[in-house]
Amino acid sequence: MIDRGVTCKELVELVTDYLEGDLPPSERVRFELHISICEDCTTYLDQMRATIAAVGRLPAESIPPTSRDELLRAFRDWHEH
């Protein structure tokens, strides 16, 4: 059996450390070794990346329009007086 560095079950818990660049060098090598030969974990890693990107593209939710108007009025008043 080929030594795949880490198991799939372990790898999914290391994904964030890996993406954050926080894995110690030896573990990063084992992580990348596993990824290079495991399609399923590659898919998992891709999906985590896609998820992060998708969260970054969420449209912003503002505050209720009445509160927003109130703040803008206060901002105007503050600068006029």
């Binding site: 079950k9 954050e20 926080d22 896609a50 970054g56 939710e61 109130e70 901002f75 503050w78």
Partner: protein, 225 residues
């Protein structure tokens, strides 16, 4: 970078929100579109930070409102020792902590039990058990998602938004600041008073939970198509 405040103050377009010096100058000059753009960009994340310390959404909304008033009044004295964003979110944190104490319902961050920090983020039954020859390999591996653009739909956005809303307050605040607002991990730690290690664990759990919800949604679409 200096900005022509006179001109920007007279235009209806907000200045580049990633340019702190320009934003600060615009706010000081009373440039309303810039203030409006900041409100729209940061308020939902501010609300999530406030919800770490106060018990209801209504109180959190008041805190966000008060924080913005604090920005209006305080921007002329802001010395720029931190980024504008860090300063604004610190105001939110301070106000919501004060409110939380006054409500006597403050939830100490360390006492929040809604997030099991050590449980696996992927269901154990998706892996072969240890007795198997290929123990801890995938038993039910993730299926590839449709091309990237399927993640851009309004419906997918709603799935993600719901998934984030269902997270515990700490995970929700961390993923909102990091992945939605683009804070660095240092900024998140400073804003939420978390250690780097703690921040990373919360981020990992939050991202994994959102991925899992997206996976359910994507798999359902595969079946129904």
């Amino acid at each position: 970078m200096a900005v022509p405040v006179e001109r920007s103050a007279s235009t209806a377009v907000p200045v580049d929100l990633s340019d702190d010096a320009a934003v600060i100058a615009a706010l000081r000059a009373g440039h309303e579109p810039t203030f409006a753009a900041l409100i729209d960009r940061w308020s939902s994340a501010m609300l999530r930070v406030a919800l770490l310390h106060v018990s209801s959404r209504a109180v959190a909304e008041e805190v966000v409102q008060d924080a913005w008033m604090g920005v209006v009044r305080g921007i002329s004295r802001f010395e720029g020792r931190s980024s504008l964003r860090t300063w604004v979110f610190r105001i939110v944190t301070n106000l919501s902590k004060t409110r939380g104490v006054r409500e006597a319902r403050s939830i100490p961050l360390s006492a929040v039990h809604d997030e099991r920090d050590h449980a696996a983020t992927v269901d154990a039954d998706r892996f072969l058990d240890a007795s198997h020859r290929w123990g801890h390999d995938w038993a039910r591996p993730p299926r590839e998602w449709a091309p990237e653009d399927s993640l851009l739909s309004k419906e997918t956005g709603d799935v993600i938004r719901r998934a984030i809303d269902e997270l515990g307050p700490r995970q929700r605040a961390v993923i909102t600041l990091r992945d939605e607002q683009g804070f660095t991990s240092k900024e998140v730690c400073a804003t939420l008073g978390l250690s780097e290690a703690n921040q990373r664990v919360l981020l990992h759990r939050a991202r994994a939970a959102v991925r899992a919800r997206l996976e359910e949604y994507m798999d359902r679409r595969l079946v129904t198509r």
